[in-house]
Every structure is written in structure tokens, then in C-alpha cells.
């Protein structure tokens, strides 16, 4: 998913009002965010508080996978959290089950949707829940609405350490917690795996040697209990770069400021959240989160092909449009265009410009 430079809010009137107030106070609105000179920034906690139906801390108790009840048979994940702390809104009980697009068909095939998180039993998270059962990713700004907890410290959905809180936003450091990059799926049951056409072909290729009962017995003994999927696996290599100026010309290499590496404690993040909730205007309290039932048939969101937008008239280069391109500049441009815009003009003794 490319970076969103605008984030439509939920339609609940109170949330929209509160988010609108936050947008007035903080420069993360869509109009500003589309200007590269005022780059988009992650949503504020105030935005998350306003948009969330509920904010809870919990541990993943179970993860179930189901296919949508339609022609596309899209894998979805039903993740059930045991709620340990409710900061905003309320749930039906101690458990809440959320539905996300993506997951496995239980036969060795997977769908991952960029920007939608994956879950393993035992994951501990702070969740900003929004639109469960109606949204394909029922968190505020999808994965941005999930904060991971590991050894009582807090990380983002990609395992990057949360290191501070500035201008209403969580700040991230360089540290990536490798354990949070792994997702474990249950290995397919043998009989389900046999329904995978690719596996069926392998079995057929074994010919008479394929004793299904023997294969089942060996599979039970030898197959891994889980399928581990690593979502980061950063590849790192050293670079050796330099720029040396001619005599009298100095060069200064610029690198990003090293960021803090240590993730902040869970208690600290909780205090920041509670403070934002306290600041939220009266009447903008979160609402009730209703669990979804994994055993109730559901349909996947449709994504039908649509006709493209109108092609906007091309705006040509301003100088050419205004007609203030000099004859020398025109010759320069034409020379460059003839050589596929290579800026090194070989046969030209003109010196347009300065």
C-alpha cells in the first residue's frame, strides 16, 4: 500500500466533530498532507481517540481462518482477544473477536494484504478498534491502530520501537524487535492439505507407492506444527560512498540523526493515551464493540473494476506555455530532447544562461 495522504474518518457524527477539531489544531489534514513541502505525518493520538469505537489492551487468545461465502472465497482472519484493559468504549465481555481480510485457506495457500496486520496466539497489543464487521481492517488507519507489546515495552505494527511522544504523535526509533516480525500459522491438517490440487498432484506422481494412511502417519510425525512467516527479514549491507570537492569546495555528508533505540514502557504509552482520552470533548466517548462470529457466513468486500477518472489536460512546462523561452534555451532543450534528455551536450558551444 502506498502512503495514504488523506484519511477519511468514520461517519459517526461525534467522531467526525472531534477529529475535525484535532485537524484544526494539528497540521495533519489531507489538504496539507498532499503538499510534498508539508509532508504527510502519521495520525495523532487525538485522531485515533476520536475515531476509535474502543481502545483496549489485550492478548490474542485464538486465531481462526475462514473463507468468504462468495465466489472469490477470500481468506479472512478472525482474531479473538482477551481484553485486559479497556481505556475507551466497551466490549460485549472479556473477549472480542475482530475480522480482518487476509489469512490462510488451511491448505497451504495464503493471502496477505499490504497494510493489514497478521496475528499469532499470544500477541499482546493495544488496539484502537473501528468498524468491526464492516471494515476489512477494523482498526483506526488499519495497522497504525495496532501497538505491539513485547516485554512490557511498546512497538508499532512492524515491530519498530515506540521511543517517544511529540506533537501528539508517537515517535519511532531504529530498533526492530525481531520476534515481532514473525507470524505463526497452524500447519495444515493432513486431510485439508490433500485437497490442495498441487499436493494432490504430488501424491498422484508417487503412483502406487502413495499409501495415504502411511503418508498421514508420517506427516503427523514429521511436519512442523506451525508455518512461520517472517514479515521483515531486513537485508543489510555496508555502503562506501564519498563525494570529494574540487580544490576549495567543501563537502559535508548528511545522514539522518540516529534515533533512540529503546522502546518506551507500556505504562508510559498508557498514560499518553489516557491523557488524550481525558482531553477528548464531552460526549465523544467510544461506543460498544460487537464481536463477529467466525461461524456466521460473511461476504468479502467487493472491488469491482471501474472506469478510470477523466484525463486532465496536460499542463506544459510553464516557460514554454508563457512563450518566454529564449532562442538559446530552446536550442538547449531541443538538443537535450534529441539525446533522450542526457544533460551532457556534446556538440554545443553555446552558453545559454548566466
Amino acid at each position: 500500500m502506498p502512503m495514504a495522504i488523506a484519511t477519511p474518518l468514520r461517519h459517526r457524527r461525534q467522531a467526525a466533530l472531534l477529529a475535525g477539531l484535532a485537524a484544526l489544531l494539528l497540521p495533519a489534514t489531507s489538504a496539507l498532507a498532499q503538499d510534498p513541502e508539508k509532508p504527510a505525518r502519521p495520525p495523532t493520538l487525538a485522531h485515533a481517540v476520536a475515531a476509535a469505537d474502543a481502545i483496549v489492551r489485550g492478548t490474542v487468545a485464538t486465531v481462526a481462518y475462514r473463507l468468504s461465502d462468495d465466489d472469490e472465497r477470500i481468506p479472512h482472519t478472525f482474531v479473538t482477544y482477551r481484553i485486559e484493559d479497556t481505556l475507551r468504549g466497551r466490549a460485549d465481555g472479556d473477549l472480542v473477536t475482530l475480522r480482518f481480510v487476509g489469512g490462510t485457506d488451511g491448505r497451504g495457500r495464503f493471502l496477505s494484504v499490504v497494510g493489514v496486520p497478521m496475528f499469532s496466539p499470544g500477541d499482546q497489543d493495544i488496539l484502537m478498534i473501528q468498524g468491526n464487521g464492516t471494515s476489512d481492517c477494523p482498526l483506526v488507519d488499519c495497522e497504525d491502530g495496532r501497538l505491539r507489546i513485547f516485554r512490557d515495552q511498546v512497538y508499532d505494527a512492524h515491530g519498530r520501537a515506540v521511543v517517544g511522544y511529540e506533537e501528539g504523535r508517537l515517535r519511532h526509533g531504529d530498533q526492530v524487535e525481531a520476534e515481532l516480525l514473525k507470524v505463526r500459522f497452524p500447519a495444515p491438517a493432513f486431510d485439508e492439505l490433500m485437497r490442495n490440487p498441487e499436493v494432490a498432484r504430488q501424491v498422484r506422481a508417487m503412483g502406487r507407492e502413495a499409501d495415504i494412511d502411511e503418508l498421514r502417519r508420517r506427516y503427523a510425525q514429521e511436519a512442523p506444527r506451525s508455518i512461520e512467516h517472517e514479515t521483515g527479514a531486513p537485508a543489510r549491507e555496508r555502503q562506501r560512498n564519498s563525494l570529494v570537492g574540487e580544490e576549495g569546495i567543501q563537502v559535508r555528508m548528511v545522514e539522518p540523526e540516529p534515533r533512540e533505540r529503546t522502546a518506551v514502557a507500556l505504562d508510559q504509552v498508557r498514560r499518553w493515551l489516557v491523557e488524550e482520552i481525558r482531553r477528548a470533548p464531552e460526549g465523544a466517548a467510544g461506543t460498544r464493540v460487537v464481536s463477529v462470529d467466525p461461524d456466521t457466513p460473511f461476504k468479502a468486500s467487493t472491488l469491482a473494476a471501474s472506469r478510470p477518472p477523466r484525463v486532465r489536460p496536460e499542463v506544459l512546462q510553464r516557460a514554454r506555455q508563457r512563450g518566454d523561452e529564449s532562442a538559446e534555451e530552446r536550442r538547449e532543450r531541443e538538443a537535450v530532447e534529441r539525446q533522450e534528455f542526457n544533460p551532457v551536450i556534446r556538440r554545443d558551444d553555446r552558453q545559454p544562461g548566466a
Binding site: T7, P42, G232, P234, S242, N342, A354
Partner: protein, 369 residues
């Protein structure tokens, strides 16, 4: 403003050496890397969403741009009358349906296989890319600057090619990346500009990732580039990019104003300034001692026909990228109260045969006091 700039510009050395690490990341299952089983993949464009004409050509242009990368991997483009997730075919379409697209300009759906059956079976099977064809997204098909956000295209000229390159980067199973200037961060501020064009490109980091996954093409492709964009921190999982700047010798950013979407810096004639640019090697081999020239131009097209005011020598690893400030003197005999462009050209003697030459020059707009 000055304090912020200095905070971010951690100066390592004066004209010598910097070490960095490549930043791309990918995915594995059962310890095996998720990647295509061959070095080519056809994407099929929906004939509804990409009918013959401008939008189809834009998508084809995106793929052509990607295929300039130095790896052995290439995409091709076909068409299809019907699209569907999970049908075993990788497709591209646009949709006005709500569903999952809410809040994102496009989404990639990655289907893969991973199981153990007396051995690991891991493969990448299908990647579908869906563009959001609803408001607020306003796609720019043209790369002429007047159509592109940040260059006079207002706030609604998001280049389809830059988002398309980002998405087909997900087609390589590259993850979002927020540690460096790169296409898998904020794609619509990952552009090259010279003259009237602001072009999307896959970049050094993406190219290095493609080589990591699929190996380098033979003979090796060479491609150096320089841009007036820089890394400016993180925005969640995305890198955030901003235009490069012009400083005085004390490190203060010079006064500037918006000139039809671009930032124009005010300079004094004869003034020493520090010009900031980002240099990239999008080839598969290191390049050493490459001549770099700095120029003053009367227009936004920087070429060797312009006035040279200094130079240097660039050495950069394959897949390397870095931002540097160079001290230069604005000529004292420029006209007062006039617009100029302070330019840079890498490989200024054109000695390196590159797969792309148009990305070898860029500029910072200036106005003399």
C-alpha cells in the same frame, strides 16, 4: 527552522566518506524467501480500468520504468476483460468500491503458497494491485511538471507512475521502508526533476532489492542519478521526503518563497552557499571517481551548456544513496533580481554508458537579490 535543519543534518565528514546500509526488506516463509519462480511476470491490466489510451499508456510507462532496474527481473503488461482476486493471475485495476480501499490510494493483494509436504513448498502465486479511483485521489498521468504535486500541479497531482512503482515493488514482496529515501516509503515525493519533467523512478534502494532477490543482469547495468529530494524522517512505516535545501555557510537555510509550486531560495551575488542534493547509484556495480559538476542555469533545464561553477568526484556503492552539501559560490556577475537555477550533473563527461541518462542532472531554484 535553522535549529531543526541542523538537528537533522548530522554532519559526518568534510568531503570524504560515509557508511550506510541498504534498507530494503522482504518476506520469508519456512525460512525461504517469497519470490516469483522465474525472472519475469506478466501483469494484466483491466480493460475497463485501463482502456487503450492515456491510462493504459501510463501503466505501461510505469512498467517500462521499473524494467530499467539492474536485476534480471522484469514485468510485462497484458490485458484482461475481467479481474478477480485469487484467480491465479496477477492483475491491475482501479475501483470506486469502498471496501478495503478506504484511506489508501492503492492496495496490493499477495497470494502465496507455503506448506510442508515432505519438504518445503514455498512460492509466490499472484499479486493484484487495485488503485482507488475515488476522491480524494487525483491521478496524474502526465509527468510534465505542471501536472505534478510539488511542481505546480497543485495538491491533486499524484503521479500514477510513482504509486504504480511502489505497488509493483510490493509485487516483488518488498515491504514498506522508513529508514531512507526510497520508493517503498512516500512514493509521490520520490521523483527526479530536470527541465519540464518530474519523473517517477524505482530508485537505488528498490534496485538493490531487486538485485538481491533475482540477481544482477548481465552485462551489468549502470545508472547514476541525482535528485533534489531527501530523507526527512518517518511517517509511520513510510520514509518521509522533502526537497533539498540551500544553506549559508553557517548552516542556516536561506530565505525562500514558493514559485509556482517549487521552493526558490534568495541568494546574494558572490555569496558562498551550501547546496544539498541526493546522489544515487541504481546500477549493480560500484562507480568510483565519477566527475560531478555544479552549474548556474537561466532555466530549469540543467545541462553542460550552462555555466559551470565548481565540481567534484563521486564514488558510490551499487545500490548506494546519500545526501551531501557542497559549498559553492554564486557568481558575482549574475543579474540582480533574476531567477536562476543552481544545477548539478553527475557523470558530467558522459563517460559512463548508463541505462538512464535523464536522471543525471537536477537543480535548486534561486533568485538573486
Amino acid at each position: 527552522m535553522i535549529r531543526i535543519a541542523l538537528k537533522f543534518a548530522c554532519v559526518l565528514s568534510a568531503g570524504l566518506f560515509a557508511g550506510q546500509v541498504a534498507a530494503y526488506s522482504t518476506k520469508t516463509c519456512l525460512g525461504e524467501r517469497l519470490k516469483w519462480g522465474s525472472n519475469s511476470k506478466q501483469l494484466r491490466a483491466s480493460t475497463t480500468s485501463f482502456p487503450a489510451g492515456t491510462w493504459r499508456n501510463t501503466l505501461q510507462g510505469t512498467i517500462d520504468r521499473f524494467n530499467l532496474n539492474p536485476s534480471r527481473f522484469t514485468y510485462s503488461l497484458g490485458t484482461t476483460g475481467s479481474v478477480r482476486r485469487g484467480n491465479g493471475t496477477s492483475e491491475v485495476w482501479g475501483s470506486t468500491d469502498t471496501g478495503l480501499l478506504a484511506g489508501a490510494p492503492a492496495r496490493a493483494f499477495q497470494y502465496w503458497t507455503c506448506y510442508w509436504f515432505f519438504g518445503n513448498h514455498v512460492s509466490l502465486d499472484e499479486v493484484d494491485v487495485v488503485f482507488d479511483y475515488r476522491s480524494p485521489w487525483q491521478w496524474a498521468s502526465s509527468e510534465a511538471k505542471g501536472n505534478v504535486t510539488g511542481y505546480g500541479g497543485g495538491t491533486d497531482g499524484r503521479p500514477m507512475r510513482s504509486t504504480g512503482l511502489h505497488e509493483i515493488g510490493h509485487g516483488l514482496i518488498l515491504n514498506h521502508e522508513n529508514r531512507w529515501y526510497n520508493i517503498m516509503g512516500t512514493d509521490f515525493t520520490h521523483l527526479h526533476a530536470n527541465g519540464g519533467m518530474a519523473r517517477a523512478y524505482f530508485g537505488a534502494d528498490g534496485s538493490a532489492a531487486a538485485v538481491f532477490l533475482y540477481g544482477a543482469r548481465s552485462p551489468a547495468r549502470r545508472d547514476l542519478g541525482v535528485v533534489h529530494w531527501r530523507y526527512d524522517g518517518t511517517s509511520g512505516e513510510y520514509s518521509r521526503h522533502r526537497k533539498t535545501r540551500l544553506f549559508n555557510t553557517s548552516g542556516a537555510v536561506l530565505a525562500s518563497f514558493d514559485d509556482a509550486g517549487e521552493t526558490r531560495f534568495r541568494v546574494n551575488r558572490g555569496q558562498q552557499v551550501r547546496a544539498e542534493f541526493t546522489y544515487e547509484n541504481m546500477g549493480s556495480q560500484a562507480q568510483n571517481n565519477v566527475p560531478v559538476g555544479f552549474y548556474i542555469s537561466s532555466n530549469d533545464l540543467v545541462t553542460t551548456a550552462d555555466r559551470r561553477i565548481g565540481g567534484g568526484s563521486l564514488s558510490i556503492s551499487a545500490g548506494g544513496h546519500f545526501t551531501a552539501e557542497v559549498t559553492l559560490t554564486i557568481p558575482a556577475n549574475l543579474d540582480a533580481n533574476r531567477n536562476y537555477w543552481l544545477g548539478v550533473i553527475v557523470d558530467e563527461n558522459d563517460a559512463i554508458a548508463e541505462v538512464v541518462e535523464w536522471n543525471n542532472a537536477t537543480y535548486l531554484p534561486i533568485r538573486t537579490n
